[in-house]
């Protein structure tokens, strides 16, 4: 919805142009997504018009969407969180473990526990990054290994199966309200909250300010340390929630749950127009990017392309998206200079 409201505000001519381009940016990804869905549906109507197809279309991306939104916030502050996959794995296992060890535990409590664990792991990342002034990439690469190690140590060769978890919880993974899966509704609510916060609040704008120019933000008096910390906590908490989703959706959790997701999450954010250099992009874009990644995954076999090629298509998309970003940025810069020279 912010897609349509964003440029509507009456702004001076110069400020309007970047807004218009920003809209085009996410619009392009959305158009690609719609195109993929239409093409796959034409080829096989079941892709969209069967109960399973419709559900998968919305459910599968919901998990990555959450992780990508957290990742987007972190990248906007000019950091990166490579540990999200490991955080997700740990919280997914915690979810299963709680159901096994504490029979009859309320689902809400489990969700809260998983989110808290995720937030705590994010806090560790953030504290190391913010206080030690060490690049996030190095720290989160370290915690990627460390968290996964803890996960494997805790899990061992154990595996939580669907039969270990209550039916009510597993139903969350498939249940629908008015044809829309519950998990997707939760994901969209989280997404809308994050988008609103980033766009309209002082705290949200500070993320962008920090990402645009960390030293300027510091000079200006923003509490950079605290802000960066909060971005990592948010990313961790969202990865934690994604872990719960993972457990509910797949019902089977091994020690390798979520491994490799960090690159999917960064990829989704980059495809969605989040600049890896910070300060640019919206969580809507990241969410659409996540949706596109997951949808292509399912659409390729239907379109007659073996799904082995899926990663190659994703790679081309990522490169295409950042090249497009660059072209738009260069053009915007030129327009701004022209506008300045004219006035």
């Amino acid at each position: 919805m912010s897609l349509t409201t964003a440029p509507a505000a009456a702004a001076p001519a110069i400020a309007k142009k970047p807004g218009g381009i920003g809209r085009a940016r996410e619009f392009g990804i959305l158009a690609a997504l719609v195109l993929v869905v239409i093409a796959a549906t034409v080829k096989n109507p079941n892709f969209l018009f069967s109960a399973d197809g419709w559900r998968d279309l919305l459910l599968t991306p919901s998990i990555l969407m959450l992780v990508a939104v957290g990742q987007a916030i972190v990248i906007i502050t000019r950091n990166v969180d490579l540990s999200v996959g490991s955080v997700m794995g740990l919280t997914a296992y915690l979810t299963g473990r709680l159901f096994v060890d504490v029979p009859g535990i309320p689902i809400v409590l489990v969700v809260i526990a998983a989110v808290l664990l995720g937030a705590f792991l994010g806090l560790v990342n953030g504290a190391l990054v913010a206080f030690a002034k060490v690049p996030a990439m190095v720290i989160t690469l370290g915690t990627l290994y460390a968290y996964r190690g803890i996960n494997v140590l805790w899990t061992g060769s154990d595996r939580i199966n669907a039969s270990d978890m209550p039916k009510d919880f597993l139903a969350l993974g498939t249940q629908q309200i008015l044809f829309i899966p519950v998990l997707s509704i939760v994901a969209v609510i989280v997404l809308a909250l994050a988008a609103w916060y980033l766009r309209n609040t002082r705290g949200g704008r500070e993320y962008y300010a920090i990402g645009s120019d960390p030293s300027a933000a510091e000079l200006y008096g923003l509490k950079v340390t605290r802000r960066v910390l909060s971005a990592f906590v948010l990313s961790g908490a969202l990865a934690g929630l994604a872990g719960v989703f993972y457990a509910a959706r797949y019902g089977s959790i091994s020690s390798q749950a979520g491994s490799g997701w960090e690159l999917d999450a960064v990829g989704a954010a980059v495809i969605g127009g989040i600049a890896i250099t910070g300060g640019v992009g919206t969580v809507w874009g990241a969410a659409i990017g996540a949706m596109l990644l997951m949808t292509i995954n399912r659409a390729l076999p239907i379109l007659g392309i073996p799904d082995f090629w899926q990663r190659a298509v994703v790679g081309v998309l990522i490169i295409g998206a950042i090249v497009l970003d660059r072209v738009l940025a260069v053009r915007q810069r030129r327009q701004l200079i022209e506008a300045r020279d004219e006035s």
């Binding site: 990627l144 190690g149 494997v152 082995f308 090629w309 950042i322």
Partner: protein, 350 residues
């Protein structure tokens, strides 16, 4: 402007005014080498079976791809860039060999084609980073997916395992009279080449200059774009070479070969003292770090510790090594009152 340099103080390492002994013994590279020796001695004394010559064989065979790829990665990261696509390039090179030998080409031709693919892949990274002007982190996440996708797409889930006996045997063969595998010879040649390139040529000085300040490097006559482009090509071609070795060592070309290798290489390079901001690093520190991870891994495995604990230790070591450095720097600043303040003076609360 001064705040910019103080807040990112990790990149300002000016220790040339310290006495020589301090420069040798009080630095990151020495710490890693010392730790490597210490761990090796402790492992040799306490772990049964570690102090056997055959251990060196397995250890070197295991870490060889990481050792090889860490060489160009060190140079790339000193310029402040990164190449995440190396693991996928290993897989792609492996698949190229597999597909070609399966279609009847001699192994030598297939291996050459794999190296060529490495050059092309590296040039693609280099082109996108230097000509189009994109951040290498984003570019190489894209080519990470692209190369892996090509590898898996070309071969699917099948594996090619039919390679000439002479070559597969060579990959695992030991140098006569020792337990050291032949792979150390190309590694040593590359190590010397890269060390000379980095430390004894204008090109190498340019690499450090770019990492410290791209603009300053450009003004002092360094061709920033050309340097970066060459480094990405080198990274691609060495990754492809590692892919050839990987294929021969396991006698199998598969699309998912060496998945996740890029993270291991980067972890080792960072542990070895290369700053991700660029401008700082030495090859000997990186080689020691790769060997440290290898020795830790193989000794702990021999001691019956599972690979998960090794992961925790690797990650912990990585975090500890970077955090310890900034804690030391912080302590030094506190001690020398004359030094610049750690942070900008706190502004009044809003």
């Amino acid at each position: 402007m001064t705040t910019a340099t103080t807040t990112t103080s990790t990149r300002v390492i000016r220790d040339y005014d310290r006495p020589l002994w301090r420069r040798i013994f009080v630095n990151r590279e020495f710490a890693i080498i010392a730790l490597l020796v210490l761990v090796a001695i402790v492992a040799a004394v306490t772990i049964r079976g570690f102090a056997q010559p055959i251990t060196a064989n397995y250890l070197l065979l295991d870490v060889a791809p990481i050792l090889l790829i860490a060489l160009p990665m060190t140079l790339v990261m000193i310029t402040g860039e990164i190449d995440l696509s190396v693991g996928s390039m290993v897989g792609l090179a492996s698949v190229v060999i597999g597909v070609l030998t399966e279609s009847g080409a001699p192994f030598e031709v297939a291996a050459l084609a794999a190296l060529l693919v490495g050059v092309v892949g590296g040039a693609l990274n280099g082109f996108l980073v230097t000509v189009v002007g994109l951040p290498s982190l984003a570019v190489t996440i894209g080519t990470l997916a692209l190369f892996r996708g090509l590898a898996v797409g070309l071969l699917g889930t099948t594996a090619v395992t039919d390679f000439p006996e002479t070559w597969t045997a060579l990959a695992k063969a030991k140098i006569a009279g020792t337990t050291i595998p032949y792979i150390v010879i190309p590694f040593l040649i590359l190590l010397v080449l890269f060390a000379v390139l980095l430390h004894f040529t204008p090109f190498g000085r340019g690499i450090f200059a770019i990492g410290l300040s791209k603009d300053a490097a450009r003004f002092s006559g360094v061709d920033v774009e050309r340097t970066k482009f060459i480094l990405f090509v080198l990274s691609g071609v060495v990754a492809a070479f590692a892919g050839i070795f990987y294929t021969l060592r396991f006698g199998s070309a598969r699309g998912d070969n060496a998945t996740g290798l890029e993270l291991q290489v980067i972890a080792a390079v960072v542990l070895g003292g290369v700053s991700v901001f660029g401008g700082r690093g030495h090859l000997h520190g990186v080689v020691a770090a790769v060997l440290l991870i290898g020795v830790l891994g193989s000794s702990l495995r021999l001691a019956g510790v599972t690979s998960d604990v090794i992961n925790i230790i690797t990650g912990g070591l990585l975090i500890f090594s970077v955090v310890a450095a900034s804690v030391l720097a912080w302590a030094q600043r506190v001690r020398s009152k004359a030094g610049p303040p750690l942070r900008v003076a706190a502004s009044p609360a809003p």
